[in-house]
Amino acid sequence: MNHPESAPLLEVDRLGLDLLVGGVHRSVLRDVSFSVAQGEAVGLVGESGSGKSMTVRAIDRLLPAGARQRGSIRFDGKDVVSLSGAALRSYRAEVAVVFQDPRVHINPVRRVGDFMTEVLRTNRSVRRRDAGARAVEMLAKVGIPDGERRLDQYPHELSGGLLQRVMIASTLLTAPRLLLADEPTTALDVTTQAEIMGLLDELRSDLGLSILFITHDLDLAAAVCDRTAVMYAGEIVEVRESRLLHDDPLHPYTAALGAARPLLDRTARLVAVPGRPLSALEAPTDGCAFAGRCPYVEPTCTSAAPVLVPADGGAARCVRVEALRGTLGGVPHA
């Protein structure tokens, strides 16, 4: 088959990951599968420790030493895991990462201009002045009009929101095809959050960028993403069209996440999901990882690990998905 338009750009298939923790390999990701098509925005939602950031690091090949990986990651049909050297570097230029906290993810002792143009100058042999001109152009595109001046400044002289725009602009300079946005707004205040989200959405429609958007906020994901995958304890528990997740969730955890969303202030989250979130490291080997916190738990839930069951155009990892269908959307706000 040869359908370049319909074949997914990024395809993660049964990704598993073990990390070295205190000298022992512990499983942090199990059976993670999803895909991102050209121009599509996909959300990856979960609490901290659910494995969503590790998924991003696996995709960008930024895993810590001693990590063991299973399954496959394919970008544009090519196997990512086997890349090395120049091929890996050019792959990384096509898959750009927008990190959570620009304050620590941009070298504080180098000028903004130096940061932005570094890849162009070192990997693409663009001359400093030309690279600078392109950087100014790109800054204008992300809503920073006085780019010339900004290039001469140091990161600590810029606000967090500005710096995140700088980070986004710098990723665009290499004309990437996929943007991995790892909680790009978490470190910012609420107004700036909205601006950055708007910017990402705009870039996606203007440039046809694919975006994998990582967040802990179900509704934030729904605002920009076509489809969203919900992760819990190192597994994807539900993949659906984003707009369906809040009102008609299939998995009890998705329902709880939707209900947990505070109405006024996103920075101070209510803990409406009862119990302590299980980190990916603590997940049981048999039975559903969410069983301990699930209000709909049954004996069958703890006897065998549930698999992703196709349902409603998506899939959910719950043995009771048929029984619970249609009953989860009405979970009241806590």
Binding site: V97, P108, V109, E118
Partner: protein
């Protein structure tokens, strides 16, 4: 801006030197005993001779006037006269300063090359290189300069006969040969300290998020190391190396004594024992000035290396 930071440092340096010079002068002024007693060799002087000598050395004037005489002289390079030796303190110091200066410089070169070099090696090459540098530096850091000196003399000068034991030699190569063991003794524990700090700085920087960003952007490995890891680790490394080298200025007296080198430090100690107040004052002032100046250089380098300098005080 950074210029403001440096101007403040220079102003503080001036105040420090002023207060330090006052303390040095006052400390020796309150010393019990008449400074003229050393001159007369214990014999009692005639009142006329006493008065004449007091006038000559400004001893008849009030304390602040004496301080002013001394300080204004010091600024012009005149540190007074050694009463027991009848010689200009400045001349006495100038004759010996070059030994201390060459010793400290030699040791500084050793520290920079070996200390930073080993630290970089250990920081960038985990495994057996790292472990051996760690073990050796932990042991070397515990060896004080005077123990290092006697061990080096016993092994390399006496048993093996590779190096001369005493004196300063002639010509550049002669100096180099004679000053090698002293410089190594002086540098040894500092090399260890600098190596460890360098290693830690590299390790911390490698783990920083911005390095991950650079890798994720496809910057080649060697550029990530030089432009991000080394560039940023240079800030703590320079600071610690500079401060360590500054501390050598005082410790050189120990090595000078061990190797019988006629430098400033050894002369300070001798003069203190002999209560030659003018010389003690003069050398103290010179050493404090040198110490403070090296620290100013460190501050300047820090300001050059770190654009965030206004945000906080010096890292070390």
């Amino acid at each position: 801006m950074r210029i403001g930071y440096l101007l403040r440092r220079v102003a503080m340096l001036a105040v420090t030197l002023l207060v330090a010079s006052f303390v040095i002068f006052a400390a020796t002024y309150v010393a019990p005993g008449n400074p003229l007693a050393a001159l007369s060799g214990g014999k009692s002087l005639s009142p006329e001779a006493q008065t004449a000598l007091e006038r000559r050395y400004h001893l008849d004037e009030p304390f602040l006037a004496q301080y002013w005489h001394w300080l204004s002289g010091a600024v012009r390079g005149d540190l007074g006269v050694s009463i027991p030796l009848h010689e200009d303190v400045s001349t006495l110091i100038a004759d010996r300063a070059w030994i201390t200066l060459s010793l400290v410089l030699y040791a500084a070169v050793i520290i920079v090359i070996l200390g930073i070099g080993l630290g970089l090696l250990a920081g960038l090459r985990p495994g057996w290189i790292d472990s051996s540098v760690l073990v050796i530096s932990s042991m070397a850091a515990a060896v004080p300069a005077f123990v290092a000196a006697i061990v080096l003399i016993a092994v390399f000068a006496v048993s093996l006969g590779w190096f001369p034991t005493i004196g300063t030699g002639d010509g550049f190569l002669g100096h180099l040969e004679h000053l090698t063991l002293p410089a190594v003794a002086l540098a040894l524990s500092s090399v260890a300290v600098v190596a460890r700090v360098t290693r830690t700085a590299i390790r911390e920087e490698v783990a920083r998020e911005h390095v991950q960003t650079a890798i994720s952007r496809g910057i080649p490995q060697h550029l990530v190391v030089t432009r991000h890891v080394l560039r940023n680790a240079a800030i703590p490394i320079t600071t610690v190396t500079g401060v360590t080298i500054a501390s050598l200025i005082a410790i050189s007296s120990v090595v000078e004594t061990s190797f019988g080198l006629n430098g400033l430090g050894q002369y300070l100690v001798k003069s203190a024992q002999g209560k030659d107040i003018a010389v003690v004052q003069g050398i103290s002032l010179v050493l404090v000035v040198a110490f403070v100046l090296v620290n100013l250089v460190v501050d300047t380098m820090y300001a050059v290396l770190d654009p965030r300098v206004e945000l906080g005080a010096r890292a070390a």
